[in-house]
């Protein structure tokens, strides 16, 4: 996952994102690519001394948005994740589920081209989990590639069109048998054997 969101360099193999080879890319060239990626961390990684509003607004501000451009979308996103009345609360005063929703709001606020989510539904109730998956599906329809790491196979299985890859001990287990809905380009002659 860290390789996907450019937090680590590979010791072997290669990484290509958005059509660019980034394995040996200069570190100064990485920030523009990172701005195109939204990440939901398993441990949320919210900045403790910033309010929920400021945490969600961070990607927009880093991208250079003015305060006028930040205010509306952030309020809207917080309302969408059900935290409109908690905008000024700091992460330590939020529950685990609320923190996770703030983290998700931060990850999607700038409409990323790639969304990487590590156990995004781990701390939310089933209703909110369904809403989040609906959000991910909606983003996907708008052109965002969504990569979700989860132990909740049932939830992902219920997501129409999702490709599923099973990893065990860091390796892809039975690569020919674990793919659900493989992309047509991967198997141009039909279903894998």
């Amino acid at each position: 996952m860290k390789l996907l969101y450019l937090a680590q360099r590979p010791t072997r193999g290669r990484i290509a994102l958005f059509g660019e080879e980034l394995t040996d890319a200069a570190r100064d060239s990485l920030p523009p690519f990172r701005r195109r990626i939204g990440v939901v961390f398993q441990d949320f990684r919210l900045i403790r001394h910033l309010s929920a509003f400021d945490n969600v607004a961070l990607p927009l501000r880093i991208a250079g948005a003015s305060e006028e451009e930040v205010e509306g979308p952030v309020r809207e996103m917080l309302a969408w994740v059900g935290l409109a009345d908690r905008a000024s609360a700091r992460p330590p005063t939020l529950s685990g589920g609320e923190q996770q929703r703030v983290a998700i709001a931060r990850a999607v606020i700038n409409r990323p081209e790639l969304l990487v989510a590590d156990e995004p539904t781990g701390n939310v109730d089933s209703d909110m989990a369904q809403r989040l998956l609906h959000l991910f599906t909606s983003l996907n329809r708008l052109g965002t590639t969504v990569v979700v790491a989860t132990h909740d196979i049932g939830l992902i299985s219920a997501t129409p069109g999702a490709q599923m890859i099973r990893l065990e001990n860091g390796t892809m287990l039975d690569p020919t048998g674990t793919l659900k809905n493989p992309p047509p380009s991967a198997y141009p002659r039909g279903e894998p054997e």
Partner: protein, 290 residues
């Protein structure tokens, strides 16, 4: 814009979550500024004193007549009529005793203390000193020609050496200040490592992160250096009476307008140094991350 980082928005300032004047940086810079200003003031005063002494000694000579005022008039005439001598002035005995009294106390004014007669004169370029000495010795045997420049040369050398010592101390203190800022910047980076990692992960550039720290250290440095400068100014003013006395001994040397301008620039220069060093230290530290 070159100084855009100074004018960050409230939301950017909230990112570090720390108010100005937290931590030891302002105090360290205040102490360094105070020390540098005192040392620099001493160095500049020495330079002024050396200048006054050198200007006073240049082209000035004395004739010392060991047997007092007995041959004084003849010696004055001999000096005054020599080609290349501009201005001749016998030094009155009471003036000599007054000068001696400053250094020796009341004993200098005592009639028991024998003092030689002294003629002071200024020389124009081309004066033949050997011929003049022979001419004076003809009317006042034992008379001795003294070049003020030669007499004061060791003192001037000492003053110049002290000036360089003061300059060296200023450089050393400024270097120590820079080192303290580097440590403070690294400490701040460690404290805010998590925030920096999150910002980097979201796509912040090194410069965006650096500007946050640069601004905080610039404000700390400015406040610290101004506080140090005010304290140094108060001490220098308190020393002014003593400095005037010393200046009187040395011929009235005081700090000039340019010297005061240099002293006033020190806190600003230290602030600029601290800001630049902080920026370089933060950028260098960030480059070690992915």
């Amino acid at each position: 814009m070159m100084f855009r980082w100074l004018f960050t928005s409230p939301s950017e300032r909230r990112l570090l979550g720390a108010r100005p004047l937290q931590g030891p940086t302002p105090w360290v810079i205040a102490i360094m500024t105070f020390s540098i200003m005192i040392v620099a003031a001493a160095g500049l005063a020495l330079a002024e004193t050396a200048g006054v002494v050198a200007a006073g000694a240049e082209a000035r000579y004395s004739v010392q007549i060991p047997d007092g005022e007995r041959n004084l008039d003849a010696a004055v005439r001999a000096v005054g009529s020599a080609p290349g001598v501009a201005k001749v002035e016998p030094v009155p005995e009471r003036e000599m005793r007054r000068i001696l009294e400053r250094w020796l106390g009341p004993a200098g004014a005592s009639a028991d203390l024998p003092i030689p007669a002294l003629i002071s004169f200024e020389a124009r370029p081309g004066l033949d000193l050997a011929a003049l000495e022979r001419r004076v010795q003809a009317v006042a045997p034992g008379a001795r020609l003294i070049a003020h420049g030669d007499t004061l040369a060791p003192l001037l050398r000492s003053l110049r050496a002290l000036q360089w010592l003061a300059f060296g101390l200023v450089v050393l203190l400024a270097s120590a200040c820079a080192a303290a800022v580097v440590l403070a910047a690294r400490g701040a980076l460690d404290t805010h490592r998590f925030t920096i990692d999150v910002m980097h992960g979201i796509g912040a550039t090194d410069l965006q992160v650096t500007h946050l720290f640069q601004r905080k250290i610039a404000i700390d440095a400015l406040i610290g250096s101004l506080a140090g400068a005010v304290a140094a100014a108060l001490v220098l003013l308190a020393l002014a009476a003593g400095a005037a006395f010393a200046g009187d001994l040395m011929g009235g040397a005081t700090l000039g307008g340019l010297d005061l301008a240099v002293l006033l620039l020190i806190p600003l220069a230290l602030t600029a140094l601290a800001t630049w060093v902080a920026r370089a230290a933060v950028l260098a530290a960030l480059r070690t991350a992915l």
